[in-house]
């Protein structure tokens, strides 16, 4: 039971990260290799403020999210004007730079040894509520004017521009919401695991999130949620075949990409109320 609960908690935290990636990659069509860096920013800033400076937890969390926002601005402002390939490169460089900073400020962050001794404050209900809130944000964003503009932008940037959509501002807004969400996931993460190390936030994590979004179906939020549960849960349950599990996971992803390129869910969505019922049912079951 405890094992299941901890798996669910990790899945919930990953889900918030995937939701951010869904906004950036699924809705807007930008590839960000730096999403995991926001997770790192949220985790480290809140943990250091809480542990070393003795700030109260909500304040530390708020500060972490604000730093995430500032970092999002720093990366977003110059990059939204660039071509898509460059955006993935710059976000990638940003992610590596953050890891390098964490590795080299040993006296504050513990460097490559990691930061340990953070008290555990995150519980499953908290993660669950956060997931529901983030889901609500993403759903309403997707259905708002902005979300539709994002879809237009993803399919054809030039056409979207000529229809009077402020492409650059739109990209920036989406990117900022995603970075705030992911930083918050970082706060949840560090106060659950009680230990963080820079190696856990490399570009591979961001790439995994993108894979999850694509497996679910790039047009479907429901798909993103279901595939997060399947793909982050699946490796846990395949643990008996520990060496092979990542290979199996990759083969599944390749099969889906080859034989059902629109992802598991394609265009389909399960409505919000149904989804809520479904998630609640899932959480109550043993």
């Amino acid at each position: 039971m405890e094992y299941l609960l901890s798996t669910l908690t990790f899945t919930g935290i990953a889900l918030i990260g995937v939701l951010g990636t869904y906004m950036v990659t699924g809705l807007t069509g930008l590839f960000s290799f730096g999403q995991a860096a926001f997770l790192a920013i949220g985790a480290y800033v809140s943990a250091v403020l809480f542990k070393n400076l003795g700030l109260p937890l909500p304040l530390a969390a708020l500060a972490a999210v604000l730093v995430g926002l500032a970092a999002g601005l720093l990366v977003g402002l110059p990059t939204v004007r660039l071509r898509r390939d460059y955006i993935s490169l710059v976000t990638f460089g940003f992610g590596e730079a953050i890891i390098a900073v964490l590795n080299n400020t040993t006296n504050i962050t513990g460097g490559a040894m990691g930061l340990s001794g953070v008290p555990q404050h995150t519980s499953f209900p908290l993660v669950f509520i956060s997931v529901v809130v983030c889901l609500a944000v993403v759903v309403s964003y997707k259905n708002s004017k902005y979300g539709r503009q994002c879809l237009a932008l993803r399919n054809d940037e030039l056409a979207a521009k000529s229809m009077g959509i402020n492409v650059e501002r739109l990209k920036l807004i989406t990117f900022l919401i995603a970075s705030v969400m992911t930083s918050f996931a970082g706060v949840l993460y560090v106060f659950y695991t009680t230990y963080v190390e820079p190696g856990a936030f490399g570009w591979v994590v961001s790439a995994e999130w993108m894979i999850i979004v694509f497996v679910g179906g790039v047009n479907s939020l429901t798909g993103a949620v279901v595939s997060t549960v399947l793909l982050t849960g699946l490796p846990e349950f395949l643990r008996f075949a520990s060496e092979w599990r990542i290979a199996i996971y990759c083969v599944i992803v390749l099969l889906i990409l080859n034989f059902r390129p629109s992802g598991m869910f394609g265009q389909h969505e399960i409505s919000l109320s149904f989804l809520r019922r479904l998630v609640r049912k899932g959480a109550k079951a043993p």
Binding site: L82, R83, A97, V204, C250
Partner: protein, 297 residues
């Protein structure tokens, strides 16, 4: 001292160039960033290792080194054909959007990396020493390590061979045509499957040679191929889709990296590389070559 750094940087840059060229070749034709190239380099580095372990009983030094390179290059070429068949052929036939290639390539890369962990464990291996650690002294203060010099020679000759194939042979012409306009190339009677396969083979050969050099420089471990990102950075700086731009970008990256390591240490250099890259892209968003593959307008 600066001249010394320059030489080391060019030697490192020549290895990056091998990586970047394999990367740029595929970008040229299919217009996506092929991250499976990293996994491929890891696998070829291990292929080279196995070959060198078998051959070390019969031959030594230079012949052994050349044989290792050949084995890895051939293995890389064949593996690239398999990758193309498994991960991209179907996507190409169904005319999928570029982003699917991208995801497919990342997954394929992780799969190859993980296969190594399964079959060879995640231990570190190192190649048998090919050459004694000689250094050549030039003008008194300048020292060049022989392995560095050989790296430079061999990667430069691999690149020259590639350029000759691309610009002087029929298949090279076909590759360039297809990368310019796939539809028209098809109308002119070129079989896109064969041309793409040829490009993948060439990129695999480059990846194989690069894998061996990376393995010698950094020892062998499954995540070795993640150095693909150096190739990515180099080819973006050079201007995506330009082979010569990728070459210049790679050498530049190698030199800048060596200088940064000397100035601020290896730990901080990624931060500075990021800042330099950002400034560079703001000043010259199309890369050094200035030529860029246009997205449909």
């Amino acid at each position: 001292m600066t001249l010394q750094l320059l030489i080391n940087g060019i030697s490192l840059g020549s290895v990056y160039a091998l990586v970047a060229v394999g990367f740029a070749l595929i970008f040229n034709i299919l217009k996506f960033s092929n991250f499976s190239h990293g996994g491929l380099m890891s696998v070829t580095a291990y292929i080279g290792y196995v070959a060198s372990i078998f051959l070390v009983r019969y031959i030594h030094a230079l012949p052994l080194f050349v044989a290792t390179l050949l084995a890895a290059a051939l293995g890389g070429g064949l593996l690239a054909l398999v990758v193309e068949r498994v991960a991209f052929r179907r996507l190409r036939e169904s005319g999928s959007s570029v982003i699917y290639y991208f995801i497919s390539s990342i997954t394929m890369g992780i799969l190859m990396e993980n296969s190594i962990t399964i079959f060879a464990s995640s231990n570190f291996y190192s190649y048998p020493p090919f050459f004694p650690a000689w250094t050549i002294r030039l003008f008194g203060a300048l020292t060049i390590a022989v392995p560095d010099l050989l790296t430079l020679c061999f990667s430069a000759s691999a690149l020259v061979i590639l350029l000759v194939v691309l610009f002087r042979t029929k298949i090279g012409l076909a590759i360039r045509c297809t990368s310019f306009d796939t539809g028209t190339a098809k109308l002119m009677g070129m079989d896109p499957n064969r041309v793409v396969a040829a490009a993948f083979f060439a990129s695999g050969v480059m990846g194989g040679v690069a894998g061996v050099f990376l393995g010698i420089n950094y020892t062998l471990y499954p995540q070795l191929g993640q150095l693909i990102v150096k190739g990515f950075v180099a080819s973006v700086i050079g201007g995506l889709g330009s082979i010569s731009g990728a070459l210049i970008g790679a050498v530049l990256l190698g030199v800048v990296e060596i200088i940064l390591i000397d100035l601020v240490g290896a730990g901080w250099s990624p931060v500075f590389i990021f800042v330099i890259m950002l400034i560079f892209l703001l000043l010259r968003p199309r890369g050094i070559s200035g030529l860029i593959v246009q997205e449909k307008a």
